[in-house]
Amino acid sequence: MSCGPRRDGGCPAQIKDIEEMTHVSNEKAGTMTTAEPTVEQETRSEDELDVPWQVVVHNDPVNLMSYVTMVFQRVFGYPREKAERHMLEVHQKGRSILWSGMRERAELYVQQLHGYLLLATLEKTC
């Protein structure tokens, strides 16, 4: 549904791709004489470089506590104890941050939570 902000000049992932492509074409041309071990560099896509987003669930007096716990287990795959901790935080403090990370995945989580009729929002980390 959405993508991260575009940056001019290409991201590290793109640069690494170009380097790899060059490496392969040289090899095919027979100019490569030594087989040095390649070291995988940690690369990040644009989305990963984007500011992390938080999935926040807000208190709702209608949804049952047991239902909310079940939804957290299903959507995030959390064990029961962790799901209950978040549910109690929502209940007592009014909100709980369930997950943070890339925007696209956060949107997917919020969509799933809305499918279960929980009050969930996507918030940018300050």
Partner: protein, 163 residues
């Protein structure tokens, strides 16, 4: 009323006509009927208002999917509720069998109905937590009873899903 788990279904037996009628009303109760508060609760905003572009995209792409999802659940429940429309005497107790594979649809439809009723009546948290309010003396009391009755069914279905 008795509620128990059978092999592949949840059985609600000894349903008196009043409770049977409340069950029949689940699909209709889940309909926001154009009431803005109910619509807003079923289709809540994905952000706290700062992300206007996201909200606009959400309305365009996600909301129609959610509507379909909710409608499918209420249709499944409505089909199960056909069992209550038999030719038995109108005051006889009824039995409803909910197939286990429909449990998620029931959870969703019951939740939709509870949220819509609560939004339409603007129930306070205190009212919603008053499970012993009685007797039913007004339309508002009846709606509150409906929310609690549907919540009781949800609790039972959830327990069955866990076991």
């Amino acid at each position: 009323m008795e509620i128990r788990r059978r092999n592949h279904h949840i059985e609600i037996s000894e349903l008196d006509p009043f409770l049977a009628e409340l069950l029949r009303q689940i699909p209709a109760s889940a309909n926001p009927d154009g009431v803005q508060a109910a619509e807003q609760r079923l289709f809540s905003a994905p952000s706290n208002g700062k992300q206007t572009e996201l909200c606009a995209e959400w309305r365009m792409y996600v909301e129609p999917e959610l509507r379909r999802l909710f409608q499918t659940a209420t249709e499944t429940v409505a089909a199960d509720l056909q069992q209550l429309n038999g030719n038995e005497k109108s005051f006889a107790n009824r039995t409803l069998r909910i197939p286990s594979k429909h449990a998620d649809a029931w959870l969703s439809a019951l939740n939709q109905a509870r949220l819509v009723i609560a939004a339409k009546n603007n129930f306070t948290e205190n009212e919603l937590n008053d499970h012993f309010r009685s007797p039913i003396g007004s339309r508002r009391d009846l709606s509150l009873f409906q929310v609690n009755f549907y919540g009781f069914l949800q609790e039972f279905i959830l327990r069955e899903l866990e076991s």
